[in-house]
């Protein structure tokens, strides 16, 4: 069995859903020349294959006062710090995304806070587990 079993039509449906997941199956069907039910079946299949993991919204953090957007590389010194750090990151509301990484550093994470103070508070908590390097987002290009 190959890694993926998705044809061109599936891929088009996927792209349409990424752009706007409120499109009705019927409308998608009109674009890919299928009935809404056939589109529904393909989408269901992609969910079962875990190509589609869920439905969500695209939202603007700036509009609700989440003014700081930071990329943080975390450096952990001891093995025993990993699990506690992961738990910390999972539990912290301001941590939007966390990845284990290769290369310099152990983890990369995306953090959003209302202001600099809140970011500093988070960084202080982070010191318990290890060191970090911070890059602030100064504007999204893409």
């Amino acid at each position: 069995m190959t890694a993926t079993q998705i044809d061109h039509t599936d891929y088009r449906i996927l792209q349409l859903l990424i752009e706007d997941s409120t499109l009705s199956h019927k409308d998608i069907g009109a674009l890919v020349h299928l009935t809404g039910q056939a589109v529904g079946a393909r989408i269901r299949r992609m969910r079962e294959l875990e190509i589609i993991e869920g439905y969500t919204i695209h939202w603007n953090p700036l509009r609700i006062g989440q003014n700081i957007h930071a990329f943080i590389t975390v450096f952990l010194s001891t093995k025993s710090d990993h699990l506690p750090f992961q738990e910390f990151a999972k539990a912290h509301d301001n941590v939007a995304e966390v990845h284990r990484i290769s290369g310099e550093g152990c983890y990369w994470m995306r953090v959003r806070t209302v202001n600099q103070e809140a970011l500093n508070a988070l960084l202080d908590e982070l010191l318990v587990y290890g060191n970090y390097r911070v890059n602030l987002d100064m504007g999204q290009i893409k």
Copy 2:
């Protein structure tokens, strides 16, 4: 919450939609003690305020053969490299996200490719504009 016009109930609705945008207004209403129609009105308002920018899906690049996920910090030496680099990044299909950053480096970007070779090819192209540091995603924690 902030200087913006959104109250705690709006925020809860927002969180619920981020988690699962297929929740019916009615079900959301049951959780925040409103009717489905009232929830619908609040969501509509958040769309008008551009807090909610759109509906999309959460999908898994690995399942369709996008096996490499890398975080790249880009270092540009001369001012004149910035615009060409930005154009390059915008045009390149494998570049999923780009931000101007403060701190070490000039830009941060997220790249997905089918394999190591494709990543190397991209990195070669990148050398035209400046230097870079690569971190490979070894697994998403959150």
